[in-house]
């Protein structure tokens, strides 16, 4: 057991999987000598050499397309996009091929690749470095899409993603890469992809979130307990695709009141899908309209105003109190 931050926990997953399986190849821009711009792959080049840790030219279409080739051959590429905002040339390869090759070849080929990238606002970065567009990937049949929220689940999800036979997109919440530490077991640990968890128990209200916004959601839940005597259950999705709707549905049926929190834009954001599932399957249990606290339908502003864009505890409390009083 060691107390690790999320960056080091992901590095642990990569190191252990490279150790376990010589088919695991790490590639991306600046992932070798530099150790990645967030230092997630630091040390891997020295340990495994440049045939397994590939510093690539600046070319995302080729990075992702090449990874697909490796995967077709049976290797397990773990490909880094430097920021999710620079993944769009690679997106074409993910949608047109990674997602479809199993289907297109009638099961002959599979694409056991991982596409990992930092996402989200809150680090005072430049334009394109703060987006949260997970729906672009979660929308694509054939892809899995997971977003960890703590060091321990980040490590376990990464291991599962690498071992999964299908392409998995991992969005890493860069705002909390080094925000806090957690005990992470030395021995290998996995988490089934498509399984959410209960991050806090409570019977009065259900809040659903994931990634970096989970921290603010938990903070709001604590405040509600203290100030309003309301006990909130917080569901941490961990996976957007597949979406584990059982757990949040069960909680919603119990509390009858739901708030969803994410930093992705509001329109067509993940909350829309979650609400649809609740309405389809749990409508008669709901005591109040569901509310969502999200990023706005604007471009993420430059960093002086990024906190205004992001859901904050105040906005979450507003929504929670609204749902409780409806």
């Amino acid at each position: 057991m060691a107390e690790l931050n999320m960056a080091d926990a992901i590095k642990l997953a990569l190191t252990q999987e490279m150790e376990n399986d010589d088919g695991v190849i790490v590639l991306g821009e600046d992932v070798g000598v530099d150790g990645g711009v967030f230092r997630i792959t630091e040390g891997l080049l020295d340990r495994y050499g440049e045939r397994r840790v590939i510093d690539s030219p600046v070319a995302e279409t080729a990075l992702v397309g090449f990874s697909i080739g490796l995967a077709l051959y049976g290797l397990k590429p773990v490909c880094e996009m430097q920021f999710s905002g620079f993944s769009y040339q690679g997106f074409h390869q993910m949608e047109s091929h990674a997602a479809r090759l199993r289907w297109r070849s009638r099961g002959r080929y599979s694409i056991p690749m991982v596409l990992r990238m930092p996402y989200g606002a809150g680090v005072h970065a430049l334009e394109h470095h703060s987006e949260s567009k997970e729906v672009l990937y979660a929308h694509i049949p054939g892809l899995k899409m997971v977003i960890p929220s703590t060091p321990r689940n980040a490590r376990a999800l990464m291991v599962s993603a690498i071992r999964d036979p299908d392409p998995v997109v991992v969005f890493e919440p860069k705002a909390i890469y080094r925000a806090f530490r957690e005990e992470v077991p030395d021995d290998e640990e996995t988490l089934p992809l498509g399984q959410s968890r209960t991050a806090r128990e409570g019977g009065d209200l259900t809040m659903i979130s994931y990634g970096a916004m989970l921290q603010r959601t938990l903070q709001a839940a604590d405040q509600l307990a203290e100030e309003d005597g309301v006990e909130t259950e917080v569901i941490d999705l961990l996976s957007l695709s597949p979406l584990d709707h059982e757990r949040f549905a069960e909680s919603a049926r119990n509390t009858g009141r739901v708030v969803i929190v994410h930093e992705a834009h509001r329109s067509y954001g993940p909350a829309g899908e979650i609400m649809a599932r609740l309405i389809e399957e749990s409508f008669y249990y709901l005591e109040a309209p569901i509310r969502r606290v999200t990023g706005f339908d604007t471009i993420v502003p430059m960093f002086a105003r990024e906190q205004a864009y992001l859901p904050d505890v105040e906005r979450i409390l507003d929504a929670a109190r609204g749902v409780l009083n409806d």
Binding site: D30, V33, D34, Q89, H124, H129, M302, A308
Partner: protein, 362 residues
Amino acid sequence: MPRKKVRLEHSVEYLSILDKNGKVDEKLIPKIDKDVLLQIHRTMLLSRHLDDRMLLLQRQGRIGTFAPAKGQEASQVGAMAALEMGDWFVPAFRETAAMLWRGIEPANLLLYNAGYNEGAEIPEDSHDLPIAIPVASQIPHAVGLAYAAGYRESDEIAITFFGDGATSEGDFHEALNFASVLKAPVIFLCQNNQWAISMPRGRQSESRTLAQKGLGYAIPSLQVDGNDVFAVYAAVQEAAERARAGDGPTMIECITYRMSVHTTADDPSKYRDEDEVKKWQELDPILRLQKYLKAKKQLSDKKIEALEKELEQQIDTAWEDTHKRIQELTDPLVMFDDVYAEPPASLQAQRQAYEQHLKCEG
């Protein structure tokens, strides 16, 4: 059905006019007005001082991440000075010196780097594009602008800046091919500064020159000494003449050096040797131009000292202005501006709800 050779005669010209001691090849030196040349020098020096100041401000936590132009001033100012203000300027993210030549205020650059979208405001009559961060993504825009200018029978042309790393991206290759096929009046200015973050030029591409990538698309292409303001000016002037005459695009690879960090978020000691930086310091584009100007008696140490003082004052004032402006820019609701010409009702509603929320929070 013979097996035969298709002979291609390709070579890349390399142009250098001003050596590191400030001596020039008088046959090659382009005609530049004395005042313009002094203006070029001033802008290069302003860019250098502004870079140094911004690095300091960033280290103090007063502005955010930015990409210094340090070392690349000749490639940028030399190129822009050879063009007309009506020509289209399509930058990447490291073009501080070029932007200053175009008249962008240091205060605006400071405001932008302090995290305010207002710093990117562009005057109505300007033909400058805003900073483009996704590598190589701006290159096709320049081709479109140039083609559009031709379509409207204007003699405006376009120039776009990008790095050595950018020549690995598909956007670069597609744009070059487009420009060649459509004979667009555009100049592709590659600042080969030897590094793409931690990736050295030698590992970015096995091509002996980057200029030859242009030749692959039948675009006249050459290398120039990018720390030699005269060579850059001459090459861009020639490319502009060709473009205006309807003869299509040119690619210019400026051999230069990123003398500073990739961005302020980067630590080059992880991947490059200080000795290399020292070697390039001897080729500093500003020192070379100063040596020339001093030999021509157009500049003296005393004048340089006075100019540096003046530029520092200009930057002091710019930072004071920026600071004042920041105090006034407290309204977060501007984040809803300029997303659409007419904000849709749902966005208006989000804005109003957030405004209400702010009022309640008081």
